[in-house]
Every structure is written in C-alpha cells, then in structure tokens.
Symmetry: C2
Subunit: 349 residues, 2 copies
Amino acid sequence: MATVRRERMTQRRIAELAGVSQATVSLVLNGKADTAASRIPEETRQRVLDVIRETTYVADPAARRLAGARNKIVGVFTYEPAFPSESADFYTPLLTGIEAAAEDLGCDLLVFTSAPVLGGRRRIFHETNRLGLADGCLLLGLEMDTDELERLVREGFPFVAVGRRDTEGVPYVGVDYVSASAALVRRAIDAGHERLFYLHLPSTGESVLDRQRGFRLALEDTAVDATLRASDGSDLVSDWTAIRESGATALFVESPAVAQSLLEIARAEGLSVPGDLSFVVLGEPSRPRDQATDFTRFSPPRTELGARAAQLLSRILEDGDQPSDEELRVLLDCDIVPGSTLGAPEGRN
Amino acid sequence: MATVRRERMTQRRIAELAGVSQATVSLVLNGKADTAASRIPEETRQRVLDVIRETTYVADPAARRLAGARNKIVGVFTYEPAFPSESADFYTPLLTGIEAAAEDLGCDLLVFTSAPVLGGRRRIFHETNRLGLADGCLLLGLEMDTDELERLVREGFPFVAVGRRDTEGVPYVGVDYVSASAALVRRAIDAGHERLFYLHLPSTGESVLDRQRGFRLALEDTAVDATLRASDGSDLVSDWTAIRESGATALFVESPAVAQSLLEIARAEGLSVPGDLSFVVLGEPSRPRDQATDFTRFSPPRTELGARAAQLLSRILEDGDQPSDEELRVLLDCDIVPGSTLGAPEGRN
DNA sequence: TACCGGCGCTAATACGGATTAGCAAGTCGC
DNA sequence: GCGACTTGCTAATCCGTATTAGCGCCGGTA
C-alpha cells in the first residue's frame, strides 16, 4: 500500500516535517564545527536527522554542485573507448586501481563515454561536455592533446593525468620508462650485444619518447651500435628486412603484438631465439595472444598507477594541505621481467 | 600571454558579449522549434553562436540538471566491484556493451563505486547515494536486493536491470537460461544419459533459479533420474562423493571453476570424460583458467546484454513513445556451445 | 485612429542546497 | 535596569540554466 510519491524529497520538505527551516536542515547535514551549525542543539539536530532517516532523503548532487559543494565524483576521461577488447587490456588494470581507490575514498566515477571523436581522437571539450559535474578528473590515454591539457590547467580544473606529461602545470602519475628501458638495454649490452635495433611506435606520446630516451641513454659512452625505426606494425616484412640488414643481434620492440609476430617470422626463418636473435619488449603485455612468449620485458604497475592517480586527485580536491610540486608529478618504478628471450649473442656472423 | 580567467564562462557573460539577454542565449542553445526560440532571427542566433564558439563556452551540467533538463548520464550500479579480476570477466563484456551503447547515445556513465558494502552486499540506497545525478540507472549483479528494486519502482526512478528479475515492475534485459539449460539437458538425454546430477550454486538469484527450472523442465515426461545439490565449491570432496554415489553419468555444474576442478578430480581417478562421465557447464565461462577445457556449455551474449540494457533505458528516458510492457522485459537467446565434454555414456557400471 | 497580431526579445521565476548576516529571546554582569 | 553577550535559529541570497509570461514595437486592418 505504498503511497506513490512522485515528488522528490527536498530539504524544504524535511524542514516542514521537522518544524525547522531549510537552512537548518542544510546546517545539520553539512555544518562545519566553527559556524552557525555549532549552535544547533543536539535535540533539534536529532529531530532533523530522524526525519531524514524516515524519509530516506538524499541531497540532490546537482544542486549541491551548483551551490559550490563537492560531490565526491571523479571524472574519468579515456582517449579511446575503455572496454572494447582492443584496449581493454590497457585500461582494465588502470580502472581496477581507480575503482579500488575510488571505493576507498567514497567517490563515484563519471566515465565520459560521450566524448565525441574529432580528428581521430576523443575530445574533452565539446559542446555538451559534462566535466563540470565531477569534482575533478582523471585522464587516461597513450597520447593527450596538449591544447586541452593547457586549457584544463588554465581554467584551474582539478585533474591528474595517468602517464607522464611534458605540458607545464599538468599533475600526473606516470611510469619511469626511461630507467626501465635503459636497464633493459644495459642487460643486453652486458650480455655481449654490440648491435641493437629498436622498432618503436611512431607515436610522439611521452611514454613512447621516454622509452627512446632510455634506450639512447644506455648507449651513451658505449661503442654499441643501434638502429631505431618507427613502425606501426602494418608492414612487418619491410620491418623485418631492415632488422636483418642492420645486423643487430638484439631486437627491441615496443609493441608486444609486433614482437610476437616478428618472433614467429624469426623462427620460421630458422633463427633461434635468443641464440641468433634476442628479443626485448619495451611495451606492456596486453592481449593473451601476446603473452604466448615469455619475453624479456618490463612490467609497469598499472593497477597501482590508477590507484595512485585517483589518490593524488583526491588530495588535490581536499581542502587541506595541497601537494607540493614534486608530489604533483610522480613517477613509479617499473619492474623488469627477465623472461627468456634475451641471451648472449652467438656471434657467428 | 593567456589571461588567467578564474571565473567560469556563463550564459550571462555570453549574453553580455553578444548584446542579448541570458534567456536568449539559453533559447539559442536549447530552444525547441515550437516555442519562443523560433522567433529568434538567424542573425541574432549566429551572433550568439559566434561568441559561444570564441569563448568555447559549455553549459554547466549541474545547473542544467537542476533546471530540469536531462543530462544524458546513465548510472551504473554493480553489486560487486566491477573491475577487479575476480569479477572482471563477468562485468567486462557487459561494460563493453554498455559503453558502446552509451557512446552511441551520447551518454556518460556514472559508476557508483562509492556504494558501501552493508550486510555483505553493496547498497543502492545509502546516506550519500548520488543516484539522482543520473537520468536513469543500470543495475548489474548476480543477485539484487528485492527491497531496493521495489523502492526504485515505487519512486519511479528510471532503471533497467541486467538479468531477469522476478520483482514486479522491474524492467530488465536478461538471458533465457530456462531454454538454454533445458536444451543442454535434452542433449544429454538424447545422448543416452539416464541419470543426471546438477551441482548448482546455493544462490537464489533469478538466473540461478532459471537454470534449475530449465533443468527440471527438460526432465518432465521422461524417466530420467536426477539429483540436484547446492554447492559453493568450498567442499569439492564431499560434492564429488555425492556425485559418484548418485551413479550419474552426466554431471551438470553451474560454476565453470568448480567444473574445471571436478574434471581434474575425475581424470585423476582415472575416469574418462566424456566416456565415463559427461560434463556440462550451466554457467558462464569467465577466467582464462576455466577456459582450459572446451566444456559443453552455453554462452550468454553478454556484450549484447549490456548494449540492449543501455538502449532500453535510453528509450525509457526519451520523451517519445514509451516501451510497452513486453518491451520492458526482454530475454535474449543464449548460444549453445557443443564443446567436447558431453558424449554418450559408456554404461559399464 | 484604434485595434490586432506577430515579431524579437527580456524579466522573472523555478530548480535544491550552501552559506552568511542577523533577529529575537534569554543570560550575565554590574 | 541596561548593555553585552550567547543561543537558536531563519531570511535572504547565490549558484547557472531552462522556461514562461509578456512587453514594446511594427505593419496591417477596419
């Protein structure tokens, strides 16, 4: 026999029922200790709270937001759709961390799936963007639009990028790909390789550039020879030709999928791995198919990345102590996975 | 030399810049053809639009929402955390479909990660629930709280459950587990099995009960003997004992993980599958480990499930024609995967 | 000339909650 | 007995947008 109440509960109705004013209800709910709220006696407070409990009233978040209050809503913007299988393995661990942190912090996640694709990439700022509903925002993606980042900084909208960003004033939690890449290159050099080849992605995203930086860094002050080549994996045959012509004994590949394909080509040609050719993957294992081989590689702590980013954003949103400049730009260490595709060169050529 | 504008762009400022009133700006942006908006001449409209473009103004979603407009925000409530690996394989396909549909519909997703766990399960209604921010909500989970569903119905909050629900007035998109389960049982019977065993989950969730219903349905008017037993998989030894004592030649198991474990036990005891014992899984393949075996099973169209649910919700939210009662309660067909674990009984006992 | 209707717009208000200034009544001090 | 202070609350305002009633003006009509 439940009465159908079509009208929403509001503070005004709560106030009527409790015999107080709307302001009092609001004060009971949000009042800081040092304001008028402190002057509301326990008895009144309880009366209001009782009514709220009976009516199961909850404040309208839009109204709160409009009035300038925080809502504990964290925006999540992904530069590509997050769930489809192509990108799922990239985003899922991040989202796992973000979700866990959000749950911990009592935040909801607003996923901006509606962002339209313009110029081949999703845009944050578009005519119906709903960024403003969130208290702040997490940005995920291999590459991000510099203009948009700058605009966010300029407008003072609180956000944290997942992945290191060059853009000034952008808070981020990233992975130290420079060190991790350099460490892997040094392993190869230590194993005796003198001629390396790096097949990297054509992107100019920070993480891609960082890997190249690390790669070059490890070569400094050595006599080791290296060839770099950009490839999107669409013409593996010519990639493979270039690799063989370089005479490299150790092949670094950024894309795990490409690495797997090249490995299959190598084996098909009768090469032994790592005897004739060592493989090192400077990318993140993703789809199961690419995990068929236990590549020598690194393993970025993606779940932690997501969680740390969410926590950083939450700190930025807090009223209290603001993170220092260093705390706003965090790099996490990347584990090295020894794998089985890096060995000493057999040096028969 | 970007001037630091701390203040947000508003319609009022746009109005000043364009030399019109705030109302005009709003009308230009949202005006329906049959209202005052139709009387704004093209010239003025363009002047306003120009300013909007220059300033890259976007409306504050909170204010829009407060003023009664739709926000194109679809709430997503999961009864368990959605991303962690235990449940990822259940939720991910659903979310894939939901995300795709949401993108298509221009909606954002509000994931209620903050819902606190009370009494072993997440609660929709809690002191700080932000359901109201979304236009409507999708509910995901194996089991849902009937009281909460009833309350949603009573309050007239638009929502769609993923999975069939018994609760009256609940719109859902579910899977026809009854038919799919019955079909698998009939296959077993057709293969010559006369003694079946069904190890089902102890849950009383609709999908779990539907499988039992389908199981029993296929037995009607047959002489086939069947044993049902609830198990949460924590005591496989006694489960196994019960199975063997029943003399069943075909074993139906709801949990893929439990099925895999039992299969290993069976093989360890020297039983051949499906020769000595057929296995049929009445559950959804989830973790990779459980996909080690090509079980005879069904395969619910989970991605489609998510997409259809999102689309249904969107229709409910539309102003136009409301879905009929039948359209509010959709059951999708479930594919049967022949697999390799169901065969004719060798009947040597 | 007085009236009517359409045009182009604006003033005013509603939405629900946060916040501040301040009112009325009581208490205290002297 | 009067001011000062405290207590317990409320009125009023603001947030940014959507929407409706309606104003002033103009051309046309009777």
